[in-house]
Point group: C2
């Protein structure tokens, strides 16, 4: 029987058998939300990159270069990691090289561990994602990007929302999946309040910016796209 | 200000600054519950041991030797890891060398990372533990032993119960603590049902044994003792 497992941080992924499974990479604040916005806008492809240094090289090859570290845009890059930046119609048809603190790292690790498919999940594309997951005949790992390998609440809430939506027909022998589902089901009517309490959202507030990003990233289905890894690129 | 952090598995402990903090080691099913029972019975001291091989040596020095791996007693040892075994009055005044799959490993790691104090937590001693924690002037890490470095639900529920009981006067800048508290508060009236759903409890059922252990380990305050590390031993 197909299984669903939830992995709360990339640091725990090596404990799991990833090979051939679908990995849904989750970084609600903000990388995977921002990627959904970019594809909804009409971006052609995104190259996830491990470091700002590596990312910068692609400027020479007609890429837009985007880098975020510690919730801030890195100096010298074209763009940061706020979803609002990626609504710009000038991005239509463009290629982006993208590096973030947590999300792109989770994608690279899933590749290295030989995931069968890597797809991008966020509240912004949850319905199209869940419908697609239900159609596949594969076991699923919901991989929370966390914050520097620590657990975070917004990724766990999203993982729980997915478990809650698709659990029929799957085997769930994973305490993290049971807990995430419980967390989501008990807090689904106060997601914003819950996430605002989180360390990550408070980190934004301390930086005096990006508080709107939190509210934006909790909207459901405003970007009905399904970005996924295709060789070295994320595409539709 | 004093902080409380929750660490869901020993695999994540290296991400935290442990030095000088109080670490509460949690292995509800069953090592830390069983240790509370042993001290309530009148055991003199417990030597946590990293492996069955190491543990066995102490048989020559008048220790009772106890070993559990994969939820089963290891062949050739005096005792396993069921709390019921440790209610035997013949244990009064005895020394026990003890190795388990998860709990003793979490204790050894906390020592290595230079915790200021290491104490043993379980529902069986939760009130005396919480009262003691409130009296200390130190930051606290609630360390879930998990299952082979993966998250488990019963340890998270207990961590949440402790956060819920003592959070006043502490800073909580830790999403795992916020989630654990939420999980506990939303499920405190159905702990047994919740834990029975867990992978660990189902592992017991598959082994055709120990289902009573689950119910036993969720009782509150039946062992009002506070075992803690004292050099190489756990004592009162």
């Amino acid at each position: 029987m197909k299984s669903i497992e939830v992995v709360y941080t990339p640091a725990l992924l090596p404990l799991y058998d990833v090979k051939g499974k679908i990995v849904v990479v989750i970084d609600i604040l903000r990388a995977t939300s921002t990627m959904c916005v970019a594809f909804q806008t009409g971006v052609k492809r995104i190259l996830p990159s491990g470091s700002p240094e590596e990312c910068k090289i692609f400027k020479d090859f007609d890429f837009i270069i985007s880098a975020e570290r510690n919730a801030m845009k890195v100096e010298g890059f074209d763009m940061g990691n706020s979803p609002f930046e990626y609504q710009n119609p000038l991005l239509i048809g463009k290629s982006i090289a993208f590096t973030t603190t947590n999300g792109t790292k989770a994608i690279k690790l899933s590749q290295k561990m030989e995931a069968g498919e890597i797809v991008i999940g966020s509240f912004l594309n949850i319905e199209i994602l869940c419908n697609w997951l239900l159609e596949q005949d594969k076991s699923i790992i919901l991989l929370c990007s966390g914050w520097k390998d620590k657990y975070n609440i917004e990724d766990a809430l999203f993982a729980g929302a997915v478990v809650s939506a698709i659990k029929q027909g799957f085997e769930i022998d994973c305490d993290a999946a049971i807990s995430a589902e419980n967390l989501y089901e008990n807090n689904q009517n106060k997601l914003l309040e819950m996430v605002r309490k989180s360390s990550h959202a408070r980190r934004f507030t301390l930086l005096n910016s990006q508080t709107d990003d939190v509210e934006f990233c909790l909207q459901k289905n405003i970007c009905p796209v399904l970005p996924r890894m295709n060789g070295e690129y994320i595409t539709l």
